[in-house]
């Protein structure tokens, strides 16, 4: 019967020398060259420390039922109508106040407990002489992220649209997207921007000025915007019909960038380091074996074989 080598293991051999000998110096040098260069290689080839990472999450968005509407009328220069859910703002408007009919509905399409879409409809009653040519609308939302850091903010969707011809309806269908100028943290509670977009308690006109609202909002590092490049204007309003704003605002899944935590950084660095280290270990093992086997540095070889094995060899 033919025999096959089914199993084998290397036999160890020791080399003895003094601690201050050339051999010891060589080993020290070899160890340094084995372990340090991989670190340098990994670091100098960039991306050693993971500085930014990203994850996916559908935010928990709720419409806060705060609305601020300014409808610009044409062709007069000073014509506008305004309304908001803030009493102070309405008080400031005087004759320009026109209370619309607003109906909203948030829908959870997949029944996962997170709202997916907001249906917003606003009917602004108009007189037959009034013609809407432009609209500015602010809707506010509470926006929360939970997966990494618990991020809570109050954000808004700003819609400004105009048309050369007096309109009867404005149709918007867009996404409420997250805009980050700065990555979020990997954990903890983040309530930096959990402040209302519009200060509804203020009696002063400047707090309801759109330029102020937008300026304060854009100063944030994390904001939401309404993305609909092309709102649709329908024209041809009958005398007694209201001006209608019809908006469908979706809350899509967002890719959120964040700063990785300590252990995540270490993990990715370790992966890179070890994979380069393996090559160096193999190469220097060969070098060391060559050096010691050929007595390039002077050592005393010791056969560290167990007695039994030697004995067996004799037998065979």
């Amino acid at each position: 019967m033919a025999l096959y080598e089914l199993y084998s293991h290397p036999a160890e051999r020791g080399y003895r020398a003094g601690l201050c000998s050339k051999a010891a110096l060589f080993l020290l040098l070899a160890a340094a060259l084995t372990y340090i260069p991989p670190l340098l290689v990994a670091f100098r080839s960039h991306g050693f420390w993971l500085k930014r990472s990203s994850y996916e999450e559908q935010p928990t968005v709720h419409f806060q039922h705060q609305v601020l509407l300014v409808a610009l009328l044409g062709p007069e220069r000073d014509g506008f109508l305004a309304w908001s859910t803030f009493p102070a703002f309405n008080r400031l408007q005087g004759d320009h106040l026109r209370v619309p009919l607003v109906s909203t509905r948030e829908e959870d399409r997949n029944q996962d407990g997170k709202m997916d879409v907001l249906h917003f409809k606003l009917e602004l009653p108009l007189q037959s002489t009034e013609h809407v040519v432009a609209v500015q609308l602010i809707l506010t939302f509470s926006y929360q992220l939970h997966r990494m850091s618990t991020f809570v903010m109050q954000s808004m969707a700003f819609l400004q649209s105009s048309f050369a011809v007096p309109g009867s309806q404005l149709y918007v269908n867009g996404d409420l997207r997250l805009q980050q100028k700065q990555p979020l943290h990997y954990g903890g509670l983040d309530v930096r921007y959990n402040v209302s977009v519009i200060n509804g308690t203020s009696p002063f006109a400047c707090d309801y000025d759109l330029t102020h609202i937008i300026a304060a909002y854009q100063a944030r590092n994390v904001t939401t915007i309404l993305t609909d490049a092309n709102p649709i204007w329908l024209v041809g309003r009958a005398a007694e019909a209201p001006f209608v704003i019809n908006a469908v605002i979706r809350y899509p899944v967002e890719v959120i960038s964040y700063l990785p935590g300590f252990w995540e950084m270490i993990k990715f660095a370790w992966i890179q380091y070890v994979s380069i280290l393996l090559i160096f270990l193999w190469v220097f093992e060969r070098i060391k074996r060559f050096v010691f086997q050929n007595q390039v540095v002077t050592t005393v070889p010791v056969t560290a074989m167990p007695q039994g094995e030697l004995y067996k060899e004799h037998l065979s």
Binding site: V99, L101, A239
Partner: protein
């Protein structure tokens, strides 16, 4: 003479004229092989080549830019293929090595020995478009009288020289050719030498299978081979025996003997203008609204048929489309009757107003299955318009279908808001002393004042509305009463339906609305009057029943008034009223099944993600799941092997 014959047979390859000893051959020899001698020669040739030792002959080579046909090109003719030369640019043919193999054949055709420039005439010259004149670059045009068209023309138009089909491979792949078929080496446009074999299989070279087209198989062929193309939209169908849901309804104008469709004008396009000829669909009860604009109302007031009520009923309706075939038979026709006894007035221009303009048209159509339409009645809403530039009018068109001889007319059977659970967007039903109605909110007119029209509360839709209310001089209690009524509407809702199909007779299906008026006692001001300024309707609702088929029901509703005190001494003429409706979902969701992560959990529920993905994909497609697992197993085995070494 042996060689001469060979040369003659290869008439498809015109020679360049640079070689000495040009010989022209008569035209008829170009057409094909007609001499028996030639064929015998060819047979001999074949035999010779087959006998070549080691089964091959060296591959012909030539200078680049020249193609080198082997002597066997003449085979093409014997096999019945078209006698052709290729592009015509390769007019040389040099076969230097052949002489070593088959001297009998090749010696005469040594390079430059004998090159023939043939007058390139084809039986059909496709580019000869102007008879009697020379077409440029048309090398086969006889009007040019050119023996060597290439000397005059920069190139020959495709089709003006003989063409043949070649199958090519890269020249470097071929060491030598032992093919009995004609072959050449071409230089293609990229400068790569291609070894080409002349395909002379007549089945491959010609479009042969002609299909006989006749009346019977025309349509079959057109559909089998045809793709998308422009089609005429006109369809002439024979009238259906009865209407199906959604079919347009046919009408007949006896006055002009014209068949038309029952129209339900609808707003169209960005302008929302009335599309006059929008047909009404059979059994499709719906309402449409559209706007009309008038440049000159004084003119169109009496002339525009859209404003005239008569134009909406001066025809008969065909009971079934089949009635089209027999228009004189009144059995198939139903007249449009008026609901009101008196005829609606036609538009009348009186001074600056256009009176009796149609603003609303309601058709009530009774149907009886496949027997079609049994009764059509129409009612109108009319209005007056002032004549001014840019007048506009909004018209409403309503179609109501109901079964013939139904006990209650459709106007009285109010539609359900769901069966049983409420459907989002349907009106919220309210009950006041056995009268069913829907809950409403304030609505403002164009100038911001309160309108008599009210907005229906839709289930599940939060809403806010408001208007300015003009205060009249009256005492406090009357004032309060009036404003309360303005806020909650008339009649005041007392009960709200738990389900969308609540029956007014069944009291158990309704729940009382909790209501709290303003407390007056808190104030210590004798001359004050506390009036409500806002009403908030709060509706708590929840899903019940199966999770896969949830039914929404109202658990409770509450009217919440907000009040303000005004002093009698103050001259307040106008107050703004607000109504708000809020729907609160109080559904208690059941625990998600085990293994499903909760929304706010941060637990590592995706720890076994790759395995989960692999196995769940296995459910969808069994093949896909095997490979990743197999790979994983192999990988693990490999790792174990490495470990044991």
């Amino acid at each position: 003479m042996h060689t001469d014959d060979v040369m003659r047979c290869d008439s498809s390859h015109p020679r360049s004229s640079d070689a000495s000893g040009d010989r022209q051959y008569p035209r008829q020899s170009l057409g094909g092989l007609d001499s028996p001698m030639c064929t015998s020669q060819l047979a001999l040739l074949q035999v010779l080549f087959l006998m070549v030792p080691e089964g091959g002959r060296p591959q012909p080579s030539s200078s680049p830019s020249e193609a080198v046909p082997t002597p066997l090109t003449l085979e093409s003719r014997t096999q019945g293929g078209t006698p052709q030369s290729s592009e015509g640019t390769e007019t040389h043919w040099t076969v230097p090595e052949i002489s070593t193999v088959g001297p009998t054949v090749v010696t005469p055709s040594a390079p430059g020995n004998r090159t023939v420039d043939l007058f390139p005439v084809l039986p059909i010259c496709v580019c000869d478009l102007t008879p009697g004149a020379c077409d440029i670059n048309c090398c086969c045009d006889r009007d040019c009288y050119l023996l060597h068209p290439r000397t005059v023309f920069s190139f020959c138009l495709p089709g003006s020289v003989r063409s043949s089909s070649w199958v090519c491979v890269d020249n470097s792949l071929i060491f030598r050719s032992n093919s009995p078929f004609p072959s050449r080496v071409f230089m293609d446009s990229n400068g790569i030498r291609q070894f080409c074999v002349h395909v002379n299989d007549s089945k491959l070279n010609y479009f042969q299978k002609l299909q006989k087209v006749n009346a019977t198989n025309f349509q079959a062929l057109a559909t089998e081979f045809g793709g998308r193309s422009f089609t005429s939209t006109f369809q002439n169908q024979s009238p259906a025996p009865f209407y199906r849901a959604g079919d347009p309804i046919l009408t007949y104008f006896p006055k002009w003997s014209v068949i038309s469709l029952l129209r339900q004008p609808a707003g169209v396009g960005a302008g929302g203008l009335c599309a006059e000829s929008n047909p009404a669909g059979f059994l499709e009860s719906k309402s449409t609204t559209c706007a009309r604009f008038f440049k000159n109302l004084a003119n169109s007031c009496t002339l525009d048929p859209a404003l005239n009520a008569a134009s909406y009923y001066n025809f008969t309706v065909l009971k079934v489309p089949r009635g089209m075939t027999d228009l004189q038979n009144m059995k198939f026709q139903v007249p449009v009757t008026l609901v009101s006894q008196s005829q609606p007035g036609s538009p009348l221009l009186a001074g600056n107003t256009c009176q009796n303009v149609v603003s609303q048209v309601i058709y009530e159509i009774e149907t009886n299955g496949t027997l079609g339409i049994q009764k059509v009645s129409v009612s109108f809403g009319q209005t007056n318009l002032t004549v001014e530039p840019g007048t506009s009018l909004q018209q409403h068109f309503i179609m109501r279908f109901r079964a013939f001889q139904q006990s209650t007319p459709a106007s009285l059977t109010r539609p359900r808001s769901g069966n049983p659970g409420y459907i989002v967007g349907k009106p919220l039903l309210a009950l006041t002393s056995d009268i069913r109605h829907s809950m409403t909110l304030l609505q403002s007119q164009g100038d911001g004042t309160c309108s008599v029209k009210r907005h229906e509360v839709q289930f599940g839709v939060n809403a806010i509305s408001g208007c300015k209310h003009r205060l009249r001089k009256m005492d406090c209690s009357h004032l309060q009463q009036e404003i309360y009524q303005t806020l909650h509407g008339r009649p005041r809702p007392e009960l709200v339906a738990i389900f969308g199909n609540a029956d007014p007779a069944q009291k158990g299906e309704w729940t009382r609305i909790l209501s709290r008026n303003c407390s007056v006692s808190a104030l210590h001001c004798t001359s004050c009057c506390v009036i409500p300024i806002a009403l908030e309707i709060q509706v708590l609702w929840a899903y019940i029943g199966l999770q896969s088929n949830p039914q929404a029901h109202v658990s409770g509703a509450r009217f919440l008034y907000q009040c303000q005190s005004i002093q009698d001494s103050q001259q307040v003429t106008e107050i703004s009223l607000t109504t708000v409706v809020t729907f609160v979902d109080i559904t208690q969701k059941p625990e998600p099944p085990r293994g499903q992560p909760r929304m706010y959990w941060k637990l590592p529920f995706d720890f076994f993600l790759p395995f989960k993905v692999a196995f769940s994909r296995g459910v969808d497609s069994q093949k896909g799941s095997v490979s990743p697992i197999l790979l994983l197993c192999l990988f693990l085995l490999g790792v174990l092997n490495l470990e044991t070494k």
